[in-house]
Symmetry: C2
Subunit: 204 residues, 2 copies
DNA sequence: GCTTTACCTGAGTGATCGATCAATATAAAG
DNA sequence: CTTTATATTGATCGATCACTCAGGTAAAGC
């Protein structure tokens, strides 16, 4: 009965995600978005409502993708804990991938936005909370697998882990050699491995 | 021979620092600055050249103050290593202070700015490098005091420490209870203390 | 082919951006 | 008090900001 849309919504979102991740919310203008999505203002506003609406959808897509990648990575490990440590170690190679930014988009957003863009800031915050929740399930799984001392608080461990990842990825934005980032990642992975029960048994 | 300035340059810089630290570079407009400094555009440009010039001077002031506070804190400790661990633990109370932001201004800038504002980004990067250098001197002092295994690389330790602090302070921006931030800080302090030789001796 | 209905276009909105400068004000020097 | 040098003011600059909407376009249903 009517005309169909020229643009694939997911493709447009992905392009917006890349742009926002690289430049941040404020530094990204509608002109930039128009060019990246090859869409005119009217179409953009019809599809996403506002710049902030588009940004929030990009945030959600980012978080969903990140979580999915993490789950896919962990699936190739028998042990939850060694999956996590391998993940941390893998973050040491962030620079080799061609990402819009080494730093986490959620963290960039959390640090950039203030009460003025409360909706977007809160969205980033909530998505970080759900990432923390997933880390918690990993540590619980590790405890159930007997890899981790059950007296340790999995929620507390997940917060510490999230803070470390935040730090590692922020550090990776510095102008240092790739090997330096890898060394920090390795050190973090080591201290995570140190929590392992099997590790403790070999030490004794 | 001529008129003297109404405004104290250091006071103005301090106010600009607080503003930029809280809102970031892009979200801070000249209007905001005019109001905060109680200065008109002409005076601001006469004193600081440009918005970015003012921002860079604010960055330098921030780094200088941060370093000075850290040195002052460490001076009250006999042991370099326990000074550092106490510092980390103290960061757990970030929320209680009335700071413009929990996150480090240098990190916020590093994550917000791109090649468009290369000068400011590079300045933030350099200042972070000098912070790292100071941490290195602390670890070297700890080694010379016999607190730290001399086979450990003090440069590597300082980078790991900086990444942890970056992570802790970014995490503190999340909407969580103050006790949660303190717990992360305590955990980080513990793993730093675990490097101590004396700690190891009591374990054996 | 015609009608209907949605989509797309892009010039244009007022507001705000960072920055400039001629006019004015004021403190120090003579 | 006059002169001189500098500081301050605030109207104003062109550019860009996020955003709107009237008009043109094209696909689906008949």
């Amino acid at each position: 009965m009517a005309r169909t849309s020229n643009h694939n919504r997911q493709d447009s979102l992905e392009k917006a995600l890349q742009l926002f991740w690289r430049k941040g919310f404020h530094a990204t203008s509608l002109k930039d978005i128009e060019k990246a999505l090859d869409m005119r203002p009217g179409s953009i506003y019809a599809a996403f409502g506002s710049k902030e609406g588009l940004f929030q959808e990009a945030l959600e897509r980012y978080a969903q993708q990140s979580l999915q990648e993490l789950k896919h990575h962990l699936a190739s490990f028998d042990s939850p804990l060694s999956g996590l440590t391998a993940f941390i170690r893998g973050l040491g190679g962030l620079r080799d991938q061609d990402l819009p930014s080494c730093a986490c988009m959620l963290v960039k957003s959390l640090l950039e936005l203030s009460y003025q863009e409360q909706g977007s800031r809160q969205k980033a915050d909530n998505l970080l909370a759900s990432m923390e929740a997933f880390f918690t399930t990993c540590f619980i799984a590790a405890q159930e697998a007997g890899e981790l001392d059950t007296t340790l608080d999995p929620v507390r461990l997940s917060r510490r882990l999230q803070a470390e990842i935040m730090g590692l990825r922020a550090f990776a934005e510095r102008d240092v050699e790739n090997e330096v980032v890898q060394a920090v990642a390795d050190d973090m992975a080591l201290s995570l491995e140190a929590l392992s029960n099997t590790q403790l048994k070999t030490q004794r």
